[in-house]
């Protein structure tokens, strides 16, 4: 009895391996990869939803190249060790393009594999500049501006709009925050009217930041540029307020999140953050949001519009190229403009989206307001 059970489970295990080998040519498959479980799931799930909405839309109108579109969704938990396995799995499934991945690290780990198999990748959220600028990944495109664009906007805003000169640059030691902070630091150093009085990494998840706040105060800074996400930012601004220190706080897209205002409460008032241009009034974006609310009965989450635009761009490129051939798709992506939730966009030779940029926002009366 036991032996039979053992053999059965072995057969089952082996058969599981074989799943995913068969290729179906009746449909066009698009891969969607990102974190769908774990801590960062809230960054990955909206992309899946966006892709589903776009694909449903296209399929209702006859699909692309006369075939139905099918999504293959895979979870990479934002781990660079897992991402290559996910990439090989998607390739095995026969996808012709990828929407994703979400985190820069995982994206980069997977990109080489896609490149080897000539598969175009459009990420809605991987902002690490070298992904496009190094020129190593001609198959990579993104519908979000790279970090340096954000940093230069923040620095310009602090120095020239706010007129601050002594800047403390803080970051959370993680890829996104530290990368941004390093760009901000070098831009300030290149400018003539500002100096970096402090450059420090803070420990994410720590219980208390008063020591580093003391240090900022002691350095005589009149503004803080913070690179990182909202949980640490709200602890920072709360403790700054509690100490009664008056200092401008400028941060990034990771902080331009309503949770930040909710958590930091009154301490969030007056905080500046850069974020993608507000295109939510764009008719396509309005419709996308309506579809989302209708289907999931909640507001869209992080990178939803970027992911929506990425899926639109990929499908349009396939349609324009009239083929699923790699060369044809990439050249279609760079040569045509396409109307998306982010406005009318195209891609430059590096793969960055033309027409996608950042603006500054400020918390006023409990909401983020764009500063024109």
């Amino acid at each position: 009895m036991k032996k039979i059970l053992f053999v059965c489970s072995l057969v089952l295990l082996v058969s599981v391996f074989f799943v995913g080998c068969q290729k179906d040519t009746g449909v066009i498959k698009i891969g969607v990869a990102g974190p769908h479980t774990g801590d960062l799931a809230s960054y990955g799930i909206p992309t899946v939803k966006a892709a589903e909405l776009v694909v449903a839309d296209w399929n209702a109108n006859g699909g692309v190249l006369g075939k139905k579109i099918e999504l293959v969704v895979e979870d990479d938990v934002c781990d660079p060790k897992v991402a290559p396995d996910v990439a090989t799995k998607l390739i095995g499934e026969g996808v012709v393009g990828i929407v994703g991945h979400i985190c820069s690290g995982a994206t980069e780990a997977a990109l080489g594999i896609y490149l080897d198999s000539s598969i175009p990748v459009i990420s809605p959220s991987a902002t690490n500049p070298p992904l496009t600028k190094s020129g190593a990944y001609p198959n990579f495109f993104r519908t979000i501006a790279p970090d340096d664009a954000q940093a230069i906007l923040e620095v310009d805003f602090v120095l020239n709009t706010l007129g601050k000169t002594r800047i403390a640059v803080l970051h959370d030691k993680q890829s996104y925050g530290k990368g941004l902070a390093e760009f901000a630091k070098s831009f300030i150093e290149q400018s003539s009217n500002g100096e970096v009085v402090l450059f420090e990494g803070i420990q994410a998840d720590a219980v208390d930041y008063s020591a580093v706040i003391n240090k900022v105060e002691n350095a005589g800074a009149d503004a803080i540029i913070y690179g990182g996400y909202h949980p640490e930012a709200s602890k920072l601004v709360s403790q700054i307020k509690e100490k009664g220190i008056n200092i401008a706080f400028i941060s990034d897209d990771g902080v331009k999140d309503d949770t930040f205002i909710e958590v930091a409460g009154s301490a969030a008032e007056g905080v500046y953050a850069s974020g993608p241009n507000d295109t939510t009034q764009d008719p396509i974006a309005v419709k996308a949001r309506e579809n989302h609310v209708a289907k999931y009965s909640e507001e869209p989450g992080a990178f939803f519009y970027n992911a929506y635009a990425a899926t639109q761009a990929l499908l349009t490129a396939i349609a324009n190229a009239e083929s699923t051939d790699y060369e044809a798709i990439t050249s279609a992506l760079t040569s045509n403009y396409v109307d998306t939730t982010l406005g009318s966009i195209s891609f430059d030779e590096n793969g960055d989206a033309i027409g996608v940029g950042f603006s500054m926002f400020q918390v006023q009366n409990g909401v983020y307001v764009e500063i024109k």
Partner: protein, 410 residues
Amino acid sequence: MKPLNKDLFNMKRLKVSLAMAFWLSVVTFPIMVIKINTINDTVIWRWGNLALIVILGLFGSYIWNYALDRMKERKGESNRLKETLSGLYQRLRSNPKVKKPVLAAVVLVIAAFPFITSMYSTSILTTALIYVVLGLGLNIIIGLGGLLHLGYAAFFAVGAYTYALLYQYFQIDFWIALPLGGLFAFLFGLLVGIPVLRLRGDYLAIVTLAFGEILRIILNNWGPVTGGPDGISRIPRPSFFGIDLKLQGSINLTYYIMVLMVVITIIVVRRLEDSRIGRALEAMKEDEVAAEAMGIDIMKSKLTAFALGSMWAGFAGVVMAAKTTKVTPDSFGLMESVIVLCIVVLGGMGSIPGILLGAFIFKIVMEYFRVFAMYRMLIFGAVLVIMMVFKPDGLIPKIRRKYTVEKEGA
């Protein structure tokens, strides 16, 4: 002692389970039932969850207590599964007619695996094999040496960064980096081991944890050299005598490298266990004072186990870097050490087939567990607790190798 009950139904047990269900539902009430929506300041009462807890608590605790009673009863009796398996194994070994074809079939399946399955399966299996090597390496430290180690991922990182950095700065090839990765991890093991191995048990655990974190933080902060939190990218996959293999080829090659490495690791671990050094380690684990009085150098033995175990993490790290083509400090955090530790203990400490099984369950079953998505870690946590309570020796407990003599009168 009260007589234990073999019967499935038992009034006393039912009463205990009812009480447990009651207490569980009381204690978990706030978190299970009340959900506060802080955005629009509303309270959601989820009474369904209360019913769920009562039912789960009742059945769960009944089965739990039943299993506990059964376990106590069976204590002293031998493990049936273990005996069946070892009996099967012995028969396989001793019968050359069966042994040869079975062995040949196994070798054939392993060798042909990349060609009969997909690239993805090969890739996942390779990852599992990397964790097998990690598990076997950590087993040298914990299982043989009895040293509680919570910073093993640091040595994995040493291997991975050895290749990444050597390639980035000196364009060193994978095949040269592979032994170097092991060597550096070995040396790092000695370096860390000398100050910390004087400490015992839990103190050792916390200090190894500290060293692991220190290394990770340095890799994270030393941007100009290590690439900081972004790590190092575009590390080449292994080449085969300079021939470019393309993606499929290099994935298969990595797989074969790992198969070979697992085989070598198993041979080394088995020989080590079955040697003067292995005996010394075992004696040390049983009784340090007595072992020392028998002429065993405790410090040297501990260092041997520690550095040798670390070396395998180094090898595995080099292959991991080559496989993923990217290394970042976050891949080598405390959680990674905990996962390898769980593989070793879950599979069965000291047992090579156990660790193989542990790593496979962990990597492959978890891979397909994605159906359960968000419940994955919850289930994993519960499984750890249940395993430790009901099978503390792991899935396939170690069958200790005994030296015996066959002499007259023996």
